[in-house]
């Protein structure tokens, strides 16, 4: 008998009563979930991992237009616009230890980089759950901030697909040609054994992306409850993504900020604060929102959320910071100031 197999389970039986009792109760969170994530500060050497089934991603209005998806990235992100012109089809594969990783699609945008990666086990090999970690460089500079979407297994992709989404901060002023190096490490989830490292090097173009991205200046001010002003600087958007920058001196810590509203065509949008480096703020659109490129204006209301508890300082390794899903009904968000209308023309 190998007692060592039960060391943890035996010891874990003795955890505090309080913890046991908490989990005995029905789970109260995660109903009508709104994804809340601590924004990144300072060096922002962290990333957000979102693991969602496809159905969770789709915006309700987008569902109606499923047949219109023109690219796999568009489908995973729920973008019904034709974004094929944004998308470079790579279909470049690397096989190691019975697992093939294929870099299927790439979108390099003014503010963001999207990579679609699928994995396929060799015929006859058992499909196992994996974790993908990444090391991506653009023109030699490592990208840190990412949102990772993963699909559940499906008949088309039995081992799942990933969309990796990186934000290119203001220091990334890219000029063609852009060289991207992506090294992915795949581990087995159950015991962390490494299956292999998969390296892809390719080029992408910024030229078209820059032409397609509209940037509007704003200057509108939203005042926080303590009188601190947030000045919206600029707003960029295209069919793939939308980003807003603002400035705010000494933003109160330990709170989340969201801008929620709709464009003049009725599409609902939510922008979340992705990063704050005093005084620079960057808001990015959440994937469950959609801003039409044909909209002429968008009305946004700032919300503050302060009930985040211990998630803020979670000790993470150097590769990620996790998302948190809180119940909007339990942790009320507070409206801040009046709604602002931003002209997109």
């Amino acid at each position: 008998m190998n007692k060592n197999h039960f060391l943890f389970l035996s010891l874990f039986g003795g955890i505090d009563d309080e913890l046991v009792i908490r989990s005995e109760k029905p789970w109260q969170g995660s109903q009508n979930t709104l994804a809340l994530r601590k924004y990144l500060t300072g060096a922002a050497c962290a990333a957000v991992i979102i693991l969602l089934s496809m159905a969770c991603i789709f915006h309700s209005e987008v569902k109606a237009a499923l047949h219109k998806f023109t690219t796999a990235i568009g489908e995973m992100l729920g973008i019904s616009e034709d974004i094929s012109s944004y998308t470079e089809i790579k279909n470049s594969s690397v096989t190691k230890n019975g697992l093939t990783l294929t870099l299927e699609e790439v979108i390099l945008d003014k503010n963001q980089l999207f990579l679609l990666v699928s994995q396929k086990f060799e015929d006859g090999r058992q499909i196992i759950d994996t974790e993908l970690s990444d090391h991506v460089k653009v023109n030699g500079r490592k990208l840190h901030v990412k949102i990772q979407h993963k699909t559940d297994a499906s008949p088309e992709a039995p081992a799942g697909k990933y969309v990796l989404n990186y934000y290119l901060d203001k220091d990334f002023r890219l000029e063609d040609p852009v060289e991207i190096e992506a090294v992915f490490t795949v581990n087995k989830i159950h015991n962390m054994d490494e299956i292999g490292k998969y390296r892809f090097i390719f080029h992408a173009s910024m030229e078209k992306s820059n032409q397609r991205t509209a940037v509007v200046q704003s200057g509108q001010v939203i005042t926080l409850s303590d009188g601190t002003p947030i000045t919206i600087k600029d707003f960029s958007f295209n069919s793939v993504e939308s980003t807003m920058t603002a400035v705010c001196e000494n933003l109160p810590p330990d709170r989340e900020y969201y801008l929620k509203g709709k464009d003049n065509l009725g599409n609902q949008v939510t922008y979340r604060l992705l990063s704050y480096e005093n005084p620079e703020m960057v808001f990015v659109i959440d994937n469950n929102g959609y801003l039409s490129p044909n909209a002429s204006n968008v009305e946004l209301q700032l919300y503050e959320h302060s009930s985040l508890g211990t998630l803020i300082d979670s000790e993470e390794d150097d590769s990620f910071m996790e998302e948190s899903f809180l119940d909007e009904n339990v942790y009320q968000m507070t409206k801040i100031g009046n709604a602002v209308t931003i002209s997109l023309k």
């Binding site: 389970l9 908490r22 789970w27 995660s30 109903q31 693991l51 969602l52 979670s314």
Partner: protein, 189 residues
């Protein structure tokens, strides 16, 4: 009957304590044992043993939370049975238990060194408790449902309205963090 009154019955060596505890907590304790063993006979045996163990422990112990106290006893018996099944390579171990054993390998390794170095179990337990209290509520619940209550991944996914792969990844990350924490304790005095 209120828990405090049941505890008083144990404390006063009144055998009615066994009946009262049994009638109130059999479903709770059976569920714990069942999740670990998936065998009716074995689970019932664990639950029956629980009442008599409680009789031996109280007094001198006076549990503040009776449900948790009894649940821990049942879980301990069930883990012992599982260990014996595993040792005798019994084929009736169900997949959830086998998967959990595989998942917790990395944590067993992390615990092995401190225990060999005579770090007291209580100290390690304190580290685990602190680690759990610092987790996000959701991560804490997922981790405890999996490794204390030994729920299947599917049950946890349903509880949290998340996908199965999301729960697996969540557990993976929490295990990794706990392992890191425990590894740091290898050099405890």
């Amino acid at each position: 009957m209120e828990d405090t009154k049941i505890v008083d019955l144990f404390w006063n060596r009144d055998e009615a304590a066994l009946e009262k505890a049994s009638s109130k907590y059999t479903p709770f304790c059976f569920h714990i044992a069942w999740n670990i063993l998936m065998n009716r006979e074995d689970s019932e045996e664990c639950v029956n043993d629980t009442w008599f163990a409680a009789w031996r422990y109280i007094p001198p112990k006076k549990p503040a939370v009776l449900s948790s106290f009894l649940g821990k006893i049942t879980r301990g018996f069930a883990i012992d049975k599982l260990r014996k099944k595993y040792a005798s390579k019994r084929t009736d171990m169900h997949m959830t238990s086998l998967n959990i054993l595989e998942e917790t390998q990395m944590l067993n390794q992390a615990l092995k060194s401190p225990l060999e170095d005579h770090v007291q179990e209580q100290e390690l337990l304190q580290i685990i408790n602190e680690f759990l209290y610092h987790l996000k509520e959701k991560d804490q619940d997922i981790f405890i449902r999996r490794y204390w209550y030994m729920d299947s991944i599917e049950e946890i996914a349903k509880r949290h309205r998340n996908s199965v792969s999301s729960i697996k990844s969540n557990l993976f990350r929490t295990r990794k963090k706990l392992r890191k924490k425990l590894m740091e304790e290898r050099y405890l005095p």
